[in-house]
């Protein structure tokens, strides 16, 4: 098979029909395989055990083959495509190791002589393959990475409380309950069950002082919880603010007028944008009005009253840019259809910027000549 085609099929973000079909097959087999693995561990199951083993082996074969194909197609899946040593990089990457471990642990277990119904249990590792497809892991990962200092400090506090309180209970309770508090590991087990507020109830302090310490442990448990939640909440707020800026930047970078002017001008423009939220039904522009700004649509939808029929613009579109170029009045009315978040760039800000970057003016004139009378301005 052509590597290029294979690369497209295996690309987790490609929108081709073949790539979509592969993803459906992949996820379908993942579910099928997991059901088989789980059913096989039951004493009695409504499905024939032979069939379940076959299902598990089929899925095993698929995932083992997928690893080989990804290794083969690695040069086309790398960014940029054709990067040298892409195969070795895939082999050692996190996702490559996940593919290897989840794809080949059952075949290896079978080779090592385990019966198929036992080896199939390793199929739960297929679950790890989800990491390639869940987009939000990257965001969560960045937040955890940014806040690792504070999060690990809370974990250290957790460890200190755990060891001190566990030892205190060991000393206090080992006399009365040698079974459950007779050694430090046993007392630590109690302490972790309590500190996380899980509370199985298999070990419970009985002395008065032991119960007072246990109460403190429970309260510290919810405090540790709350600390983690607090750290992560402020971490998410910061990370999402950053992501929003990059999204704004990307919106601006798509405007032909700005694209050619380089990152500095784009960042400058992104900084000048003012958020403006309009409810559904609000008029955004009126035909013949003087145009004093252009808009980028972050979300929502607007309708441009063009002839012969209106045009709808949604997320990522921009409009009114002719106002920045020609200064002529708006050529069509625009109405907000679905409550829209817009970013507005004022003609005044834009002109001050053009004064600092004279290349902007020549770009404007070329653009104006090309687009005149095309969009509402």
């Amino acid at each position: 098979m052509d590597l290029r085609i294979l690369g497209t099929i295996l690309n987790a973000e490609a929108r081709d029909g073949s790539a979509r079909a592969f993803r459906w097959l992949h996820h379908g087999l993942l579910v099928l395989g997991l059901v088989a693995v789980v059913e096989l561990t039951l004493q009695s199951t409504p499905i024939d055990r032979r069939l379940l083993v076959d299902m598990a082996l089929l899925v095993t074969a698929f995932f083992a083959a997928e690893w080989l194909l990804r290794l083969l197609a690695a040069p086309r899946l790398a960014t940029p495509p054709g990067r040298p040593a892409a195969r070795r990089r895939y082999l050692l990457s996190f996702l490559g190791l996940v593919d290897l471990v989840s794809g080949w642990s059952i075949p290896l277990a079978l080779l090592a002589g385990l019966p198929a119904s036992e080896a199939a249990t390793l199929g739960v590792l297929w679950m790890l393959k989800l990491t390639r497809y869940v987009a939000g892991f990257a965001l969560i990962g960045r937040v955890l990475h940014n806040e690792r200092g504070a999060l690990l400090s809370v974990l250290a506090a957790f460890a200190i409380v755990l060891l001190l309180a566990g030892t205190a209970e060991y000393l206090l309770e080992r006399g009365g309950q040698p079974q459950t508090f007779g050694s430090l590991p046993a007392a630590l087990w109690w302490c972790i069950v309590t500190l996380t507020t899980t509370g199985y109830g298999d070990a419970i302090p009985a002395t008065d002082l032991g119960r007072v310490i246990a109460s403190l442990v429970m309260i510290l448990g919810i405090a540790i919880f709350a600390l983690w939640a607090g750290i992560l909440a402020s971490g998410f707020a910061a990370e999402i603010r950053r992501r929003d800026f990059l999204r704004t930047w990307a919106l601006v970078a798509r405007v032909p007028l700005f694209k050619q002017l380089g990152a500095q001008v784009i960042a400058e423009v992104a900084r000048l944008l003012r958020p403006r939220r309009l409810p559904a039904g609000a008029p955004l522009m009126r035909k013949g009005e003087p145009g004093d700004c252009m808009y980028f649509i972050v979300d929502g939808e607007v309708e441009v009253a063009l002839e012969p029929q209106p045009v709808r613009l949604g997320q990522g579109a921009f409009l009114g840019e002719m106002a920045l170029i020609t200064g002529e009045p708006r050529s069509a009315s625009v109405l907000v259809r679905r409550s829209a978040q817009l970013l507005a760039l004022d003609i005044a800000d834009f002109r001050a910027l053009a004064g600092q970057h004279p290349e902007l003016t020549s770009a404007i004139e070329a653009e104006a000549a090309r687009r005149r009378a095309k969009a509402p301005s």
Copy 2:
């Protein structure tokens, strides 16, 4: 009955007496019905069972009829009223399905031959009718929708941890505790009870390694919790900021002077407003002072020292707008009564805006002629 009257009665937001009476009846019957349903499941109850069944059937009849009436009145309840196909839209809407299911499942169960005391248990579905009346669900729903990516990623991480840790415990503990860890579903049950820190205590790992893994599961449990809390906290902050802007927008849009000038001017004004919080007792304006801004009241209360008796203005009111129009000194003193959150619009900002939108000036003059000597300016 006239559909218009019926539409008003059934409208969840209408403030007419009839609509209020209907809501009281609705909520009262809901409580009465739920009490009957719950009591009917008890072995012995102080109330006569016959009476309880009758109560449940009465409430059933009411809710079944309500669905029919809402279907009938759908054209008047739709926005905008009289929208075509409103009945079909109601039938298939979320609230329409809730009304259908909660109103007609008991009648259907009775038709299918279930005894009334059994069928009545389905009355708990009436609880779903609350969704129409709890305003905050919309806000929560928007936050969950905005953050769905990150929330689902955490759920995926939850599933991965669940399956891997469950399998590990299954392998480690099935020898010693075949009853509670003898199959993957049983081990997964243990794992979910532990990962959510519920900790029933019906299944507890006994091996050393099993307990170490269980400890990790508990700590990951509180981390998953904290992640969700963190994501939702930053999501709520963003959503409430957005709601506040729309509220400001709505405050400005109610001022006659701005209303007629369209969404763009209103958004512009909303952007120019500066929040100003004053404690109770602080003077806001002094009679005869030159007026340099107008105010919108977000919350709290101010008192205008008018003759013959002072006037109190609260949430949503605005004052001092004559200063923007005539430039004359304040015609009355104003004092803050209850700690007030105000939005101030400076005369300078207002005039710059009027320069860009000359239609504002003519609106001002018309307004000034109409309102002169009416409010403190």
Copy 3:
């Protein structure tokens, strides 16, 4: 006793020696009383029961008398003092009811014939008296009040999940476990124990479908938790921002120069302030430098190098205001001692403001004449 003296003693915020002594006595008796009440419920106690009863009765007498005294002193405790009908207002206020209930429930129980050791149990109500002295309750109360809409919506969602999931488990499990799932109230008890992730383990679903539903309930439990935490986190952030503005306002309002100019100028100044944080050891002003701004100290400490010995200024102080008045160079050097949060008011901002409020200029000249050569400028 003079009502004025009594009013001072009972005032929870007064800093007089007598008021402090009263608070110590109040808190000491509260602890003593609670210890007695708790000890009295034990079968065997190291302390004589007779003594415990006497302790409880002593504290009872004190709190009963306190209510009478507060009622007597109400006119002096009201804000403003001497307000008419202050006694009736106290009687019906929240704190008045707390004082009445916690002070007089034991005497009433004794009158009704309960033995003293039984009646003493009502002494736990004394705990409510803490509400007067915990300052943070006001902040928490405001946040809960502001966010009540969203919080109650989550509670409504909680109730819906509770009823639906409880009924599902009732239908599924009542056959196998008639003892613990045999009625709706019993199933609801299980559901609330699970939904709050408490997990006593007294009722546990045994059917497969019952366990799947229980798993969903646990996950929804942590989601409800996380929603509350998220709502409260953004609510606290908003409330604390608001409190900080009021604190800034109060700082500015204490400067003689601004105090006399009224709330509008003060709010204007508070808005113009720019936060500036300096680490310990950083020089803030140098003697002879031109002074271009004045500072308000939010926290931390600075040292003014005055002769013959340096002066330290801490939270709430301000310095450099002569620069705004005379325009002369700084008359002394200033060094940051403990990492300080300052608010700076620029001379340019101040002068623009003075242009709008000409009364500021005359205030400046009077002030300058009075304070010249007193503080570093």
Copy 4:
């Protein structure tokens, strides 16, 4: 040994080889000691008990000696070094007490006649020594300190709920369950286990009203949790914003041009900086372009296309400052390598600042003469 060398070795932040080696030894012995202590409490252990006791005694000796050495080296470890009374300050400092308690409690226990294997249990106190090395404790400590008012208020609410609900259950349940609810301390134990949602299941209300109250306690439990999380989340957000300003300040303070001008100019510059985030691959400067600002790198990496080979600059570096000095065009192109967070200082802002601080201009000229043709400008 020279105190200076000893001071360096013991300094927790020093980067010398000897200090690093000491830290490795310290942490290694800490782990070794804790393992020995834990193993000694087991009935049967795979390791010889004699060896374990020896290990524990070795670690004991190390930590006891460490305290002595730190006391000796205190004058060199103090800030600033050589501060008088440094030894007494160390003795009474928090970390000094931790060192004393964790280092000398086992020797004292041995002196008091405890057998070594018993005394070794006190070795868990060594865990406290982590506090010196976990940097994030300072941040967490500051947040807890800033928010102590609100956090303690929640704790007070916790105590009030605890006492009132505990008493209610005591009154309701003591008849039916004298073992678990027969005294107030027993009922309070139940209440704290429930209010923290731990839920051991050792005490469970059985009466109907008792269960309703227990349900309220569980819901209040998650509310208290959520309150703490909310308070801490907004506290962390504020503290991290503050830390970021100090980090910006420190970045600016390292630029030779600003360093000599004192804290006020540095704070002024830090305030003027505008954050700018650029994705990997974006061009930051082009050779020959007019330079209009300088950059500070907060994180990420940029590459300066210098001859003969490019130079990479990372966190903490700054570039383009020649533009502020000479006004000549950029002398080299710069490309972003890893997504970078930059702080930009505009030439316009810088010049306005220089107008207010004329000493900046002379510093500029001296700097320009020294650095000309050294860095891209």
